[in-house]
Amino acid sequence: MIWLTWRQFRVQLAAVGGAITVMLLFLAYTAGGLPDFDDQFLAAFKSDALLGAVYTAGVAVVLCVPAIVGVFWGAPLVARELEAGTHRLVWTQTVTRTRWLATKLAVTGLAAMAATGLLSLILNWWSHSLDQAINAGQKQNGLFGVSRIAPPLFEARGITPIAYTAFALALGVAIGIVVRRVVPAMAITLALFVTVQIVMPVFVREHLGASSATTVITPRNMMGMMASINPNGEAAGEVHDLTVEFEKPGAWLIANQTIDRNGEAHRALPSWFARCVPAHAAAVGRAPFSPQEAAACFQRAKDEGYRQRIRFMPASRYWTLQAIESAIFLALAALLAGASFWWLRNRVT
């Protein structure tokens, strides 16, 4: 059965394996050109266009591999046999449906997880200094300034890609078994997997043990806000999106929001907040209000119980969070595989 699985699978394996090998070669080729680590590492890294391109491509490939595996390996795995009728040929050899699916899943799954794991491992090794620089507080705009714990890097680095790949494969197989036709199964798999890939970082991951810190808003820690001032210097309309400084290198900032005395966050703040001009803005003389007015405003905010709440995932939680998310997706993959076996035994005729 392993022989047959291999014989049917080798072209798809070669296609994905080839793409991953090319990526690995790029990483190996450029690894020698990485700057030595120092406190200017990130700036040096960014100034090298090739390194930036390779890193971006590496992240993109790891993000795409699970979807590709789910769509091109998972969905057709059983659906193609059901569509062509070859399941009637193979299930009447001396091999049960269960062993047939188990072998196919095991061979494909191990290959997929090994391929993603290898790529992710090499990318991790390659970007070791980059992570170190970001965790040490070096800053850059764009992808090179994103910590590995923040989306979209979190799902492209570490061990989560392996779990995502297992999940995508199991999802594709299960959908293929239920839908029984290759192309619709591929389309549904892609749609569902991309949905999961978006829902997880946007709605779910922050509930996996984020930290929370609350501070008083001061002229010094305030970064900015959105407010409208009318021509005669009065605050008009809503004041919103007030943010304060967040100094946790390498952390994933989830929320930076103002809460009232009851601890509730509102989108709009009272209009008098417009006078709370942060110190750095006052220093450049762009503030329409006097320093006294600003000081009074900050005092009022404090007296009325307004504070800033910051929710974040500290850099130190990286591997714990990786382990939790991997466990979730491996469990989902196991669940889908179990459902596939059940469906194949009981519902496929």
Partner: protein, 291 residues
């Protein structure tokens, strides 16, 4: 001796449609069984139940005394339209058979390939219908099953390929002492090959028995028109013209009534009589002649 196939009130429904209803059969070992019936009669359903591709809605089915399941070593199956892996070569199919069947008969497979003259490197998608059917049959035979089930193996073949395929099958059956169940919607396909016949019409078994017994117990009676059917035989079909009645009857006893002229029936006549019976049963049964 355990019957190769035994069913009891076997019923299979797909949604609200009954594909097979209350089918009770007992197929003895060592026979070449022809399963005949019009398209959609439930032949494929019965055969797929027998190899464990389907599970019964109700009733029981046993193959060699056990409930059928996928991967039975004693049962070979050549499915309808003889599916093969389009991208795999002939040789790959043989290796597939070798890897998936502990009892794989190398010599048999090689000898058949030799005789059929198939190009082993050819992809299955490039084979003709007849060649594909032969490849599927080779897989079924080289597994060395005790029962080989073939679902309309010749339906898509031209008359010459049909004859070759069936001849080939019979040769293999004689050589390896297989039991065979073979379905077709054409009696002529089965007439030469089979020694046991099952007629399936409208999802029900209409007739089952050894071919020689069926031929010996069915007769056509022709005689002066009668409006009442004779009580002493089982009348399968009756047609009446102005003056004459013609009956197909089943009886174990000799017919002495001198009013009847008794003639031999061909297998096709018998099968058609049973197929017609089902269709007529749907209408009110009347002996009124069409004038």
């Amino acid at each position: 001796m355990t019957p190769v196939l035994r069913t009891d009130a076997l019923t299979k429904s797909f949604g609200r449609k009954r594909a097979l209803a209350e089918c009770t059969l007992d197929v003895p070992a060592g026979r070449v069984v022809g399963l005949v019936g019009p398209n959609g009669a439930g032949k494929s359903t019965l055969l797929n139940l027998a190899v464990g591709m389907l599970t019964p809605t109700s009733g029981t089915i046993e193959v060699f005394g056990e409930a059928p399941a996928s991967g039975m070593p004693k049962v070979g199956f050549v499915a309808q339209d003889t599916p093969t892996y389009a991208n795999l070569s002939v040789d790959d199919h043989l290796r597939l058979g070798e890897h998936l069947n502990p009892g794989w008969d190398h010599a048999l497979a090689d000898a058949r390939m030799e005789r059929l003259g198939l190009d082993r490197a050819q992809k299955a998608r490039k084979l003709s219908g007849g060649q594909r059917a032969q490849l599927a049959l080779t897989l079924g035979l080289a597994k060395r099953p005790e029962l080989l089930i073939l679902d309309e193996p010749v339906a898509s073949l031209d008359p010459l390929a049909r004859r070759e395929f069936l001849g080939d099958l019979m040769e293999a059956v004689a050589e390896h002492e297989l039991s065979v169940i073979l379905s077709s919607h054409l009696v002529s396909d089965l007439e030469r090959a089979c020694d046991h016949l099952i007629v399936l019409v409208d999802s029900r078994v209409q007739l089952a028995g050894d071919m020689d017994v069926l031929l010996a117990t069915h007769h056509r009676l022709t005689g002066p028109r009668r409006d009442s059917l004779p009580e002493e035989f089982d009348v399968v079909a009756a047609t009446h013209s102005d003056r004459q009645s013609s009956l197909v009857v089943r009886t174990d006893t000799p017919i002495y009534d001198p009013n009847w002229t008794v003639t031999q029936l061909s297998l096709e006549d018998i099968v058609l009589a049973y197929m017609g019976r089902r269709a007529n049963a749907a209408q009110p049964r009347t002996l009124e002649a069409v004038r």
